[in-house]
Point group: C3
Chain length 358, copies 3
Amino acid sequence: MDASYDPSITAGELAERFSATVMGDPSTRIDRFASLASARQGCASFLSSPRYREQLRATQASVVVVSDAAAARQMGLSCTLIETHDPYLFFAKAAGWLNRRNRQALVPHTVVHPSAILGPGVTLGVRVSIGPGVVVGSGAIIDEDTDVDAGCILGEGVSIGAGSHLHPRVTIAPGCRIGARALIHSGAVIGSDGFGFAPQSDRSWLKIPQVGGVLIGDDVEIGANTTIDRGTLDATVIEHGVKLDNQIQIAHNVVIGRHTAIAGCVGIAGSARIGAFCQIGGAAGILGHLEIAEGTIIGPMSLVMSSILEPGKYVGVYPLQHQADWEKSAAMVRRLPEFRRQVNQELRDRPSHGKKEG
Amino acid sequence: MDASYDPSITAGELAERFSATVMGDPSTRIDRFASLASARQGCASFLSSPRYREQLRATQASVVVVSDAAAARQMGLSCTLIETHDPYLFFAKAAGWLNRRNRQALVPHTVVHPSAILGPGVTLGVRVSIGPGVVVGSGAIIDEDTDVDAGCILGEGVSIGAGSHLHPRVTIAPGCRIGARALIHSGAVIGSDGFGFAPQSDRSWLKIPQVGGVLIGDDVEIGANTTIDRGTLDATVIEHGVKLDNQIQIAHNVVIGRHTAIAGCVGIAGSARIGAFCQIGGAAGILGHLEIAEGTIIGPMSLVMSSILEPGKYVGVYPLQHQADWEKSAAMVRRLPEFRRQVNQELRDRPSHGKKEG
Amino acid sequence: MDASYDPSITAGELAERFSATVMGDPSTRIDRFASLASARQGCASFLSSPRYREQLRATQASVVVVSDAAAARQMGLSCTLIETHDPYLFFAKAAGWLNRRNRQALVPHTVVHPSAILGPGVTLGVRVSIGPGVVVGSGAIIDEDTDVDAGCILGEGVSIGAGSHLHPRVTIAPGCRIGARALIHSGAVIGSDGFGFAPQSDRSWLKIPQVGGVLIGDDVEIGANTTIDRGTLDATVIEHGVKLDNQIQIAHNVVIGRHTAIAGCVGIAGSARIGAFCQIGGAAGILGHLEIAEGTIIGPMSLVMSSILEPGKYVGVYPLQHQADWEKSAAMVRRLPEFRRQVNQELRDRPSHGKKEG
């Protein structure tokens, strides 16, 4: 690491890089982004919504990104301003870029912590960082500009694409392949056995060995404590750009299409095929061996029990009620078929206008 | 560690400390609590319910805590007895106290396992125990009487309050702050990125950098494999006395009020604000950007889809049925609006008494 | 490890061991199973369904297991064939056996990675493998032919039966006992505290110390990131042959009967007793202190709120609908009791045939 490296950047450089304009001193330096309320000197912040106007007045940020610099000045904000049409988007791009720039500068060449244990034949690209206590199995390949943080365990023959970041305590089982720019959070497990058993005559279960792998595309984010099982024979597949939140369970031989985003606590059963550009709400469930059309949106805590061939928004949630009301409505739900029979019977017993006229 | 330390205590000392009375030999020593059935010599046990009376007769405990010592003697129980009005509460207090007392005695000064890796500028209080393979980032602060068990990973600038216990393999990301007397179970991840993305014109997702922290108050318990995301800009906040069970997912910028208890597998989406003294049932879900009033009780597996401003008990669960009955009731639920239209139409077709009389 | 060990086996030996017949060269060697599409030279594969016939024609497998060897030859498949009535079952048994055989041969005597940390009084059986960074507490017992992979943490007094495999990063808390042939996947936590608190007068919670253990029988599989809490005083019990998928939460003092299989993301609350031979669908929930009869089948995402004493298939899931339809049906569900009252009132207002005739 170069101790003299300055992780800060001037407002002028940042504005130029992301096509914005500066009002005030363009040589003002910032090294990170923070909220208006928590920003201190050396921080940039931004105003994304009028409801933060009071915070804007009081902020100690050195630079604030706004959509209307003149209005901000009128409110008495005297710090350097960056003006752009969408300050939130500017923040997303600029903060992400700043992180990547600093990471590359701070790891100018490959560093392996002395406590890490690398098997024979491991290949590390340039500017790879391997943290304390990491274990990498034989023949694994870790491409350039990738961070493998403390306590990660990578099995034999794993490959990780360039520019990836494995947070502490990620586990990747033998043979799994991860694309470029992966972002994997702590506690994620990739390549655990699929849950496959054949019933036997004595009512015990015979394990079906799970010998397939996991194939993960580029630009995939995987949340904390999410689990992705290896396929039985072929691979479980996560395509490019998929975003997975925390505590998601993906069973063997699932295929998730590109750029699909899945919220926390979702469970997807074996061999389900989710199309591209889908959005799956938190804690939803998807049964096995079915297909979900590209662009489908599934509501939170909803269970998909059969294939969805027509995209759209789908929901299946029992409405929340006061407990006493719920007890009555739930009792009625149970007895709905009976209620219908009773009503239809009673209607039949009563003459309609039509019958009267007939 | 002081090899001569005796972790046991006499029945007399224990009774005095927790305002109970002894019948029998007050010098009887015990060093732990166990159930009536599993207790051996040197164990204390207790009778909390009449249905354990048979176990009471057969127990090998050296000391039994009862609410009626004379009755226990009449049943033939000859061991030392401690009499108190609520034996279960006595157990909770006495066993907890015994654990803390022994822990402090057994770790008389700070011990760091030689395999642990501490970054520069780490501050450890007195009587701190750092286990094998622990990694602590630069500038972290761990207050007195805190145990950090094997395999925990604490990022840069993390702070942990006094008297805390991190079980093995807890991960705390950089900058997160935990209060005093925290109890965090294995596999918990605190400070993973929130799940925030902006849609782009090519239907891919732009990551919103997550630069906020996590602030956790005093006396908080966090279950195994529970995940708490850092805020986008400001912090995710868990207030004093909150109790979180296993496998809970708490998204970015959630605020959970003091002494709220949340059962296992609950998911809470981003920016939800849960009041103090709430109880959330297992596997319930709470959508983002909503508010739940202080003292609200949410049933298990129920989804909160809008703010709850009036405390009470709320439930939303489809009732369990035999599959054949469920198929019929679920089919009816789908067609309820149609059924209502049909019934109302048919009712309109039939003259009522009112109409006949009119 | 014996560098000269050949992990491969001939088609003839394999066929003989599992009562099948060879067509072609019985001396053909294979060392693993793969799908028809991914198999290369040295792999065995199998045809389990007619829909893979095209893959059969193109496979590069050295050996293919089929149910009709003559038919496969007629399709032009020239490699060595193994004929058996159920190729999938043959695969399950042969691949499992091959894994166990090779594992035993490759670990001819106990090996402990130099980075592992074993407490005093740890007992290791023959042919035990302890991976990098493993921590084993004092007095633990690990029986013969067991693999404890990298990063596992076993507390004091833990015991693990013969022929078990703990994948990387499994945590087993002090005193928990695991039977023979256990298969435990990464991130699983066994023996975390149960979630037990007594409400206090100031509305805070008093922790009930959890001092029971976890008892796990033989032939149990436990999925990635699954959590099993220790009992309050007595043990949480998982009987022989139970199969648990990923991300399951099992609370304190639960008992799960033998050969019950539980799919991913299920939550089971405290002191529930699940009978033997049950099947619990993914993300289902089971409330505490209830009983489920032997052989019961619970559907996915269904909540069991009271004991099930009669086996059968039970389901409770709100049906999935287009969002607009769901909004209408859910609104109706809420108002069902009111709707019934209204309909019954209106029916009373209208004379029936019976009344007219009477």
